[in-house]
Subunit: 201 residues, 2 copies
């Protein structure tokens, strides 16, 4: 089934490939099933891709931060893309401005990271790995932004919001990270976090 391409605000075909396109928070960029006419590069803000399953559950197949690339897909989009925050995106025609090897590698890295998350078994491992993966984004300096909801994190890690909440509380209580409101963390003990994520020994 196909939904037709989502509306793109400030549509200016002539310079669409040069100027970033602005999106509001929680706005849909494209729908699962749409023809993959464009691929995107995040200039500002955060984007998520959701795959909706027939049983009603959704799976978040990725979060995309500034510099990340998404929407590079063969024929039609396999997931719906939405903004997590207000965002500015570079939009490129798939045919007239196909992604360069550099972009493909970035897209590949995102997919590999998603797969790698599931190499982690327990809630602690997955959440720790998730936090570290965001902390390593080039834009992040000191603080770890978590603009997405707990439900988003849960659907990304294959857990429930309850488990995410409990696990988050636990690693805060253990002094591994510090919560700066709901949507920002500071990493206190990097080594311990890496150990939780199963990265060291």
């Amino acid at each position: 089934m196909s939904y037709g391409l989502a509306e793109l605000p400030d549509q200016k075909p002539a310079e669409a490939d040069q100027a970033p396109v602005a999106f509001r928070k929680n706005e849909i960029i494209f729908h699962q099933g749409d023809m993959a006419l464009y691929w995107f590069e995040v200039a500002e803000g955060v984007v998520r891709t959701c795959h909706f399953r027939v049983d009603g559950n959704r799976q978040l197949t990725g979060f995309f931060f500034p510099g990340d690339v998404f929407g590079i897909e063969g024929n039609q989009y396999l997931a719906t893309a939405q903004t997590v925050t207000s965002a500015k995106l570079m939009r490129h025609h798939s045919l007239s401005h196909p992604p360069q090897p550099d972009h493909l590698e970035r897209a590949l890295a995102s997919a590999q990271q998603c797969i790698a998350l599931f190499g982690h078994r327990t809630a602690h491992e997955r959440l720790a790995a998730f936090i570290l993966s965001i902390a390593r984004k080039p834009t992040t300096n000191g603080c770890v932004p978590l603009p997405m909801s707990r439900a988003d994190i849960a659907d990304h890690l294959g857990l429930t919001i309850h488990t995410v909440s409990r696990t988050m509380t636990d690693i805060v209580n253990r002094g591994i990270v510090a919560a700066d409101g709901l949507h920002r963390l500071r990493i206190i003990d990097q080594d311990q976090l890496a150990r939780l994520a199963g990265e060291t020994e």
Copy 2:
């Protein structure tokens, strides 16, 4: 760390890209960390890719059947590739014979399928989805080949061999599939299997 490219039997540089290369069972095709000089296409047999983690656990990031493509990676291989059965592989130079869009789509489909598996939460859902994914390979007619070990399946689905074994026994006892030895299944109730996998209703 890099291991150097695995030995390639019957190496004939001149026609290497035309003739399939033969591998024995459980032979290593390339190592995680090697320079990604070649990409491969399965002509006969089955291949698995394993990502080894620092904690000693391994994650099987894919099984590749005839017609499937693997080893298309940016700079160096992110996982080790091994044969599950004896196999014949078409080996292509990454630079002189880069993959065509058709191949990229097949590789992408494999990655997406791996990610999709983890949208399934329970052992029953994952195993059912896994069996269905193999049953839908073009080569499969009626019977579902499971040439890989239970450990391979477990490491692919993020379960233990015990859970895989128990779950397999259960869906056999419930008459959803029939076991024809350890490494072959027949699907008895396709609808029920799809329901288990969360594909319908």
